[in-house]
Amino acid sequence: MQKRFIGIFASLAIIVAACGGATTTSAPPASGPATSGPSATGDMSASPSGDASVPPASGALAAEQILNIDISGEPPTLDPNAAQDSNSLTVLRALHRPLVYIDKDLEIVPALAESWEVSDDAKTFTFKLRDAKYSNGDPIVAADLVYSWKRLIDPRTAAPYSYVMEEVAGGPELLDMAGAEPAASDADIVAALDAFSVEAPDEKTFVVTLATPATYFLSAMTLWVGVPIQEKWITSEGATEAANYVSSGPFMLDTWEHNSEIILTPNPNWYGDVKPTLTEIHMSMSPEPAQAMAAYETGEIDMIMPVPGEDVERVKGDDVLKAEYSEQTSLGITYYNYNNGEGVARCADAKACPTTNKNFRIALTQAIDKKSFQDTTFAGLGVIANSFVMPGIPGAIPDYDPYPFDLAAAKDSMDKALGELGYASAAEIPTLKFGYNSGSGHEPRVAFLAQAWEEAFGLKTEQIGSDFSVFLTQRTAGDYDLARNGWGADYPHANNQLGGLFTCGGGNNDQQYCNEAFDDLLTQAAAEADQAAQAALYEEAGKILADDAASLFLRWSVTPQLIKPYVSGLTPTPMDSQIPGEHFYETIQILEH
């Protein structure tokens, strides 16, 4: 009693006291709060696993097949083209299925497309669609895909994930139009959409022509954004309300009580081979992880992912809960930015911006005991990271570690850096600005790093905790010397890992990093059709990042989860963010209990 008492109390108190930074971002560990962490395992499916095609039936099924889960907040939208937040995706994955999908090992497998052909120049993809119907009984036709894809990239839709269409011929022109000044005219947009190379020669054939040979195109196609959408549905009034919703996946939207509950029921027209066993999925929307944790303990919900960080130790020591506990490797990374100074005015003088010095960054990296960091601030959950791309994705270099923890070497590197910068000692360096978003559990991590640097070099840092938006704005502007960061994979491909994050001027390049050799490798890799050769190029690019100490890579995510013993047939993947097995609700079964 006492242990449980203290545990729940601590988690609630911490979170309530910090209610400020409650912002959900797409994909799991991106906002990396007290939640996701790795363990000493690199295993890609460390938890009860099932198979998408053959649901295991261990034990007798319960008479009532209702799954109760929590999606941690009201989905901002259920329009597949417009969705980006993880609470939306958790629902959309039950409601829709794209042309191709991932399996539990993240291999690309047919879904709505039963097969596809690739032209000899690797630019034209011809998909053959299955005989399939929407939840409203209408057939799913190739024209709906054409409509959906054009709507996704139409600048007037302003879809957050429009960029996944950039490989399609005509795509880059449309992406450029979105921010054009003055705004592109409707006529120009329509003309550009006509040139956008997706076609439906007949009802069951969908043809896409790419601007360059395919590389990560199929990976991006597994996302929720490219699903078939009926024009007459999405343009109707209140399309995303339960009464009007048209789904193409294993489930359909039965009830959407805003801010309160979503209920899904099986889609009778679902074309997949595995029909849902569940008769209902109830999704509550608790913004407060500790409430969800309490609801799990009382049996109101059947699974929780991630287990709140404050509760992990208690759960592992609890006689009942420890048997329900498991850890899932996730495609995410926790890292901290060094300001590399590219394009930051105040960093024109390196002396004012010491993190722009490579030896300085190397010294900071060598001074961090990552294992101790992870044990202290992530309950020991995670896989130590010394590079960016997550293990399991082609192009990962999990064993590459140019700057291991070594205080003597760190001091040498620091001496070199001080000489280059023109300081006599690290204590002379003006206080560095260390930014993070407050209220999401980052405080102990920031303090750990700041303390390690102070102890190693006498380096002073000012830790600045801000509201999430303020923090992002300042991180992007390069106002910080050091800043918290995190990333969760949208799709398991190195391009999604490196492109945009580290390329010169890239959209998410908040470490202000720029190395042309790196950019060249990425460009080459993007054009490389051979998978093995492409992976080798990404490996090489990843080594440049690590060698440059572009950022302080700390840990790849492992997510702690609790699953009631009567939940069976889960198909977990490293892409799951909120619900174990959220990519394959149709295989889930409830056992007698």
């Binding site: 009693m1 008492f5 729940i8 109390f9 609630l12 108190a13 309530v16 209610c19 930074g21 409650a22 912002t23 971002t25 797409s26 994909a27 991106a30 906002s31 009201e74 901002p76 939208t77 259920l78 329009d79 980006q84 937040d85 600048p155 007037r156 302003a158 957050p160 429009s162 960029y163 992406l175 139009m177 979105a178 921010g179 054009a180 399309a239 995303t240 009580e257 805003h258 801010n259 309160s260 509550s284 929307m285 913004p287 407060e288 409430q291 309490a294 609801a295 303990e297 009382t298 109101e300 509201d467 999430f468 938006s469 303020v470 992002l472 704005t473 990333w487 949208d490 959209g507 998410n508």
Partner: protein, 305 residues
């Protein structure tokens, strides 16, 4: 009286105007915007969204647009919940928040006032100590601590009530108690202090010396007079309760509007934030008028003209 009332109610308009200008200016002065995500939207997409929602206009134009909508009852689109209008979001959640607030208010009054009376009548004796201790604990305990204690004891341990949600009376009990805790304590303390002051008045001594029953003295003379200052705080308390509590709604996962006070700020959902601010400002201003009217009813010496 009528003209006084009309004047007071009309005064609410400039109050709301001032609140709206200040809030509108401050929320746009804070860095960041509604499209901020850890994975940044492409700049082009952000520009397009800004244009679509009018965020690329000068601030005063945006404000005029907002006022134009507001006076016609249109609170605008939500920036966060992109399929929905703020009107629908507020309409969906306000009933729940209002119900919770009223229940908590009733509980607070029904427990708080008797607690204060008992304390005053048993001045410096055990009933007083007990009542004072309860109210001191109540004031010193933040609502989230009380809420968590209730969840741990009555949900996780005893399994009497669900941990959250809003689906029928069994889910109402814990949040109502958690929300009522603080106002109970405040009301009890005000009542006690006010009762003690009244007890020493000449008219009470007169009533007692002319041989009135103690019960009649207490109910007709003491309590009625002692309640005037209590009513003063009931207005703002009610305004606070019916407009919702961020913390209670969050901890108990209640689909009200209270949780938007803070979440609309952190997500920069400007239109929702404005709606919430106006709602709260109106509730406070209006209930203060109601309280003033109640004074006249309770205390015949007070006359408005």
């Amino acid at each position: 009286m009528i003209s006084y009332l009309a004047r007071r109610i009309l005064w609410i308009i400039p109050v709301l105007f001032a609140v709206s200008v200040i809030t509108f200016y401050l929320m746009h002065a804070v860095p960041g915007g509604p499209w901020d995500r850890e994975k940044r939207l492409p700049a082009a997409v952000q520009a397009r969204l800004n244009a679509e929602y009018g965020l690329d206009q000068p601030l005063y134009v945006q404000y005029i647009d907002w006022v134009g909508g507001f006076v016609q009852g249109d609170l605008g689109p939500s920036y966060r919940y992109q399929d929905r209008r703020v009107n629908d979001i507020v309409a969906d959640g306000f009933g729940t928040t209002f119900q919770l607030g009223i229940m908590a208010f009733v509980v607070a009054v029904v427990i708080g006032i008797p607690l204060g009376i008992v304390a005053a009548l048993g001045h410096n004796r055990p009933p007083d100590y007990l009542s004072t201790s309860v109210s001191i604990i109540g004031i010193a305990t933040p609502s989230f601590v009380l809420a968590i204690l209730l969840v741990i004891v009555f949900s996780v341990q005893l399994r009497w009530f669900p941990t959250g949600g809003w689906k029928g009376p069994e889910t109402w009990v814990l949040p109502t108690l958690a929300l009522a805790g603080f106002p109970i304590a405040v009301i009890a303390r005000y009542t006690r202090a006010s009762m003690l002051e009244v007890t020493r008045k000449d008219y009470i001594r007169t009533a007692q010396s002319k041989g009135l029953q103690r019960g009649a003295v207490v109910s007709r003379h003491m309590v009625r007079n002692a309640l005037i200052p209590v009513v003063t705080i009931l207005g703002p308390t009610l305004a606070f309760l019916v407009t919702g509590s961020f913390i209670i709604e969050r901890i108990f996962n209640i689909p009200g509007v209270g949780q938007f006070y803070l979440s609309s700020i952190s997500t920069r959902d400007y239109s929702l934030l404005m709606a919430m601010t106006m709602l709260y400002a109106f509730a406070v201003a209006f209930l203060n008028v109601v309280v003033d009217v109640l004074y006249a009813y309770i205390d015949p010496r007070i006359r408005y003209s």
